[in-house]
């Protein structure tokens, strides 16, 4: 069945207003996007929506109790809360280096969770 729907592209801060014409989950046409990423976004939204996920993990021996972490690639949207439950179990030890893998192959999705920054060990 052919249908049109409105979407806001979230690939970049421009946030183009898209009008997506689709047949089921197949995108026939997008209007309103200023670059071709708009089409990629619309296709993904209909079949496999994903989001970057950023959260924190407990860290021992650092100047802060938490270290920020994120998914190195966009993560399947329906599994975000499962991911958060998994990540909230973790506790790591300082020092931590930026991009260090904190959780490998999260939930078997083939996406690593990595540290967003260095966190040196607290000098005592």
């Amino acid at each position: 069945m052919r249908a049109t729907e409105k979407m806001i592209c979230i690939i970049c801060p421009m946030g183009c207003n898209l009008t997506v014409t689709r047949e089921g989950t197949t995108v026939l046409r997008t209007e309103g996007n200023t670059c071709k990423q708009g089409l990629t976004f619309a296709e993904a939204e209909l079949t496999d929506p994903r989001r970057m996920v950023a959260t924190t993990v407990r860290v021992k021996g650092a100047i802060h109790p938490l270290i920020p972490v994120y998914t190195e690639k966009p993560f399947p949207k329906p599994r975000i809360f499962d991911l958060l439950r998994e990540v909230c179990q973790l506790e790591i030890e300082a020092p931590v280096a930026m991009n260090q893998v904190v959780l490998e192959n999260a939930l078997g999705e083939g996406i690593n969770i990595i540290a967003s920054r260095d966190m040196p060990r607290m000098s005592t």
Binding site: R58, H64, P68
Partner: protein, 427 residues
């Protein structure tokens, strides 16, 4: 860290967030030998360190980075090029003679002399006092940025059930963040008839998690004695007056305020820097020089940007110009052309430009519109009847800054202009 603090520097940068970091790096690379950054926090990086969400650096690095990663790239670079910095230290005063008075627990009180200063203190959140919400004053009313610091850096959850006032980016991002941490965000209220943050944040922070947004709504009253128990939300008319009969009690234990940011210019004013009442930041030229010779401004201290990439860009410009000033390489007698806000433009930054800049560089004019226009518009720069530059935009919104680049080809017309008036009108 500054091992041995000098008493004199070519460039002193006040604030080590993205604006200050970019300014310091750029000053150093443009010939300033002794550059010092001063920050009150224990680490370099500023507010980016608490902005753990992605979306930074799409323009600067062509990558989608979280705030701390974006900051770290500049921190490493600053350390790599040999910039001194003083942390856990508060600048108490800056004078028009470019003296900087600073104090800290380790270094004590110091008087420093700079050839040029870059002010990069960023901005502050508006608080409950500034928007005047009536009612008692229980615990549980916080600014969104404060909550962000608690949740992302210090590891405290400020509540369980939230209402967020203001649809700015920080408010929406906190709505998602609190949801991630197991809290319930009941509602986001926005007094304006439109979203004040970026649309992408509406999608990925509110829509994705079914958090309702109510436009033309505000908090009429806070209920609770020791702790917030509920807020009374109300619809408002065009003049922000409550519409009778529209009140609704929303039970919650915390109200977060995301009701705007104000450039932080207490120090600038001590140095005699004159502020524009429209932006709450200094009047600046295209090199981000203020009215005080040798005092430059970088980042959100000038006006509040939507994107850190812009903060970085202006920091690079301010730092380069500060280095030039410190070395005595500035256009001595510039003949400035003022910019002006025309139809549907709230303000234009910079406030005046030196046309000679266009012989070597482009100049970005940045504007905020007064009213949203959800149709194709033409942004025009005119001097009387003369069209100097124009740009098409698919729409304009107050929450999204409009930029227009002046180029070398515009040099002649800019040089002969009395003013550069920017206006926006439907195509």
């Amino acid at each position: 860290m500054a091992k041995q603090l000098k008493s004199q520097y070519d460039v002193i940068v006040v604030g080590a967030g993205p604006g200050g970091l970019a300014a310091a790096i750029s000053a150093k690379k443009n010939g300033a030998d002794d550059v010092l950054m001063i920050d009150r926090d224990l680490e370099l990086g500023g507010i980016l360190l608490q902005c753990i969400h992605n979306g930074f650096g799409v323009d600067t690095f062509k990558e989608d980075l979280p705030g701390p990663s974006y900051a770290q790239r500049f921190i490493k670079e600053a350390q790599g090029v040999g910039i001194d910095y003083l942390l856990d230290s508060m600048v108490l005063d800056v004078t028009s003679g470019r003296k900087v008075f600073v104090t800290g627990t380790r270094g004590g009180f110091k008087e420093l002399q700079a050839r040029a200063i870059v002010i990069a203190m960023g901005c502050r959140e508006r608080t409950r006092a500034q928007i005047g919400i009536p009612g008692p004053r229980p615990a549980g009313v916080y600014t969104a940025g404060l909550a962000q610091r608690w949740v992302n850096v210090e590891g405290y959850m400020p509540g369980k059930r939230f209402v967020i006032l203001g649809s700015g980016d920080i408010g929406m991002i906190m709505a998602r963040r609190l949801t991630f941490e197991g809290a319930k965000v009941e509602r986001v209220l926005e007094v304006m008839p439109y979203l004040t943050g970026l649309s992408r944040n509406y999608v990925q922070c509110l829509m994705d998690f079914d958090i309702p947004l109510q436009l033309r709504h505000t908090v009429k009253r806070i209920i609770g004695k020791d702790r917030v128990k509920a807020v009374e939300a109300v619809q408002v008319d065009d003049r922000w007056r409550p519409v009778p009969g529209t009140g609704e009690m929303i039970p919650c234990d915390t109200l977060l305020l995301s009701v705007g940011l104000i450039p932080e210019n207490e120090l600038s004013q001590k140095a005699g820097v004159i502020l524009d009442p429209m932006t709450n930041g200094p009047f600046v030229d295209d090199g981000f020089a203020t009215n005080i010779p040798g005092v430059f401004a970088a980042g959100n201290v000038v006006h509040v940007y939507d994107l850190v990439d812009w903060v970085t860009k202006t920091g690079l410009t301010a730092g380069r110009r500060a280095a030039m000033f410190a070395q005595g390489h500035c256009n001595e007698n510039p003949v400035f052309v003022p910019t002006a806000a025309g139809e549907n433009i709230r303000y234009v930054v910079p406030h005046r430009i030196d046309p000679e800049t266009l012989t070597q560089d482009t100049i970005m004019l940045q504007m905020r519109v007064t009213q949203p226009m959800e149709e194709a518009v033409l942004v025009r720069v005119t001097d009387g009847d003369t069209l100097i530059a124009k740009k098409r935009e698919r729409y304009v919104r107050p929450g999204e800054m409009v930029s227009l680049k002046l180029r070398e080809r515009d040099y002649d017309s800019v040089r002969h202009a009395k003013e550069l008036r920017v206006s926006v009108a439907p195509l």
